[in-house]
Symmetry: C2
Subunit: 351 residues, 2 copies
């Protein structure tokens, strides 16, 4: 290496900031007055405007205490979602088949046509829902969107949840599926993806795969990941009662996460993956919105990966709250988000 | 083209959402209660935490009516900034030489060492300041950071401002410099960059270059661009009094922009470039922060470029307000931001 190159290389290493893990008591908080937010409209489809304009999630402050309480809510919600699946399958030209992989329940989600360049590639999907919602087929909607818009075969993991099982069983189940699939598909041809708890599980799967000596997948798409369930991160405050889905850092999603953690330390990187070592992570595409309570959770993972020398791309949608890019397959921005993720996978898988 | 490829190609075209340019009166605004924001600290350097914790800009509500009023403030501010430049030049190993290019005042900003791969490359810098601030040498600080951290030769345009000249003179001057430099440097080896009004001018230069039949530059870095001075965009509301630099969409920066526009329509793409045609734009790297009043201005340009089939990368810094990534060259995140821009230019210039 020539001296000049060496100097630049050293400068690049120095570019990683000296970071803080503690708040200075001397720094004063900022008081922000009450305000009224018009519904944003510029560069936003009319369909997404309606989603953005919805009132605050009426269940935002549900404070479940047990897995059984959370599951009761989840079952009612799931029944409504399952009814929408046949229409979605027809619109997106996708089929879903239940299966068992290494003892783990899963769904094989297949688009009617897979282009030559996507054949032999496999996406493993881990659904969201704060580790307690979307049991069974209700967890498969995002996998259908990905298969339909991205034209890839997807396996959606129906991981066990409270009250059947607690941390780290969801992660165990997802990694079991990966381990099984590695028997027939090279790691470089496999991607992980998911949103919210599924975004966190995507990152946790990479951390756990490395712990277990498994090869890294070819790419990942952690969507608005619950990457820090210690509730650290600026948008937990700035977007409080701005995000109409999660609404508050102390709402239903945190109650659910505490149930899943089952007494385990919330700062463990297998629950708060932003604290994990991300050097050598596979290329990642991260998706969020400007009103997302987890905007900072997403931005911090993107920045940590970049600071670790990884490839990371950040997609931020105007005006959207938590995970709204995957609420409705008929919304133009949903197609856009999954088309971008598919393009990203096409760029990095197989390399 | 095979039928399958044709179908996918058509699907990709359909991925561009049907967008709205009007707000539905039926959609209800959201009332957000008053809140207190702690200073964010996770993954943020202690130096940047202090910048984030600063009280609201005391001049945020200056309502200048004339170019002379704005210039009086700008001159006082500039006198303070100019005193900091010798220290910055010494720290970053950069020299600054005033020059005249095609009749336009400018500064040649040169790092002490330029690596072989950056030789022959040229960055044209347009400073920020709401089209009225940072006259003369006070406008050169960001160019020094870019030269020092990115190791490129930079020309910083000291474009005319009110009260000497009004829209579109700033843009005229910047494009004149580009036209002159094209006589000795191929367009593919030239990048444009700048922050705030400089981010807008970066985009406006591309629009104007195309109008005039000039070739596209090789890359651009519009930092938190004032891309929509009609005050459209969600973060003008969500980050009101959260951003401690601009503070409000109706503050000093809007007053200054109205002075510069001098009666011209603020929705003209040469003042609000988000409304310009961005098909065929050069690869862009955009930088903003989660508290930035212009977060939406930045996100909308990123998304519009992606929807136009361009290459665009978005960098979002945790907790930062408008343009804070270029406030202080001794802050680790400043080095990080300009190192990333330099790496991006290294990837796309010369192609």
């Amino acid at each position: 290496m020539k001296p000049q190159r060496l100097i630049l290389f050293a400068a690049a290493l120095l570019a990683a900031p000296v970071l803080s893990s503690a708040q200075s008591a001397a720094l004063k908080p900022l008081n922000v007055p009450a305000k009224t937010l018009p519904v944003p409209y510029a560069d936003i489809s009319p369909q997404m405007q309606k989603i953005i304009a919805a009132p605050l999630n009426p269940n935002w402050n549900d404070q479940w205490q047990t897995g059984a309480q959370a599951r009761a809510f989840a079952n009612t919600q799931a029944a409504g979602i399952v009814k929408t699946i046949p229409g979605m399958l027809a619109r997106l030209h996708v089929t879903v088949q239940p299966t068992i992989i290494g003892g783990v329940k899963a769904y094989i989600v297949t688009p009617d046509s897979i282009p030559p360049e996507n054949q032999g590639k496999l996406l493993i999907h881990v659904h969201g829902g704060c580790y307690v919602l979307f049991p069974g087929e209700a967890g498969v909607t995002e996998a259908i969107m990905m298969a339909g818009f991205g034209h890839y075969k997807v396996i959606s993991v129906d991981y066990r949840m409270p009250p059947e099982a607690y941390f780290p069983t969801a992660l165990d189940d997802a990694v079991t599926v990966y381990r099984q699939e590695l028997k027939t598909t090279p790691a470089k041809d496999i991607a992980f993806f998911g949103t919210s708890a599924g975004g966190a599980l995507t990152l946790e799967m990479v951390l756990r795969a490395r712990q277990e000596g498994l090869p890294m997948p070819g790419a990942i798409a952690p969507g608005t990941p619950m990457s820090d369930v210690t509730l650290t991160g600026d948008s937990f405050y700035t977007n409080e009662k701005v995000d109409n889905v999660l609404v508050s850092r102390n709402g239903f999603c945190q109650a659910a996460t505490v149930i899943y953690a089952h007494g385990h330390n919330l700062a463990d990187p297998l629950l708060s993956p932003v604290y994990g070592d991300m050097h050598g992570f596979p290329p990642a595409i991260l998706t969020t919105g400007t009103r997302d309570l987890l905007l900072s959770n997403t931005v911090r993972v993107d920045r940590k990966m970049l600071r670790s020398g990884d490839i990371a791309e950040l997609e931020v949608f105007e005006g959207e709250s938590h995970a709204q890019y995957q609420f409705d397959d008929t919304v133009p921005e949903t197609r856009e988000a999954f088309t971008e993720i598919g393009t990203f996978f096409g760029k990095y898988l197989g390399q």
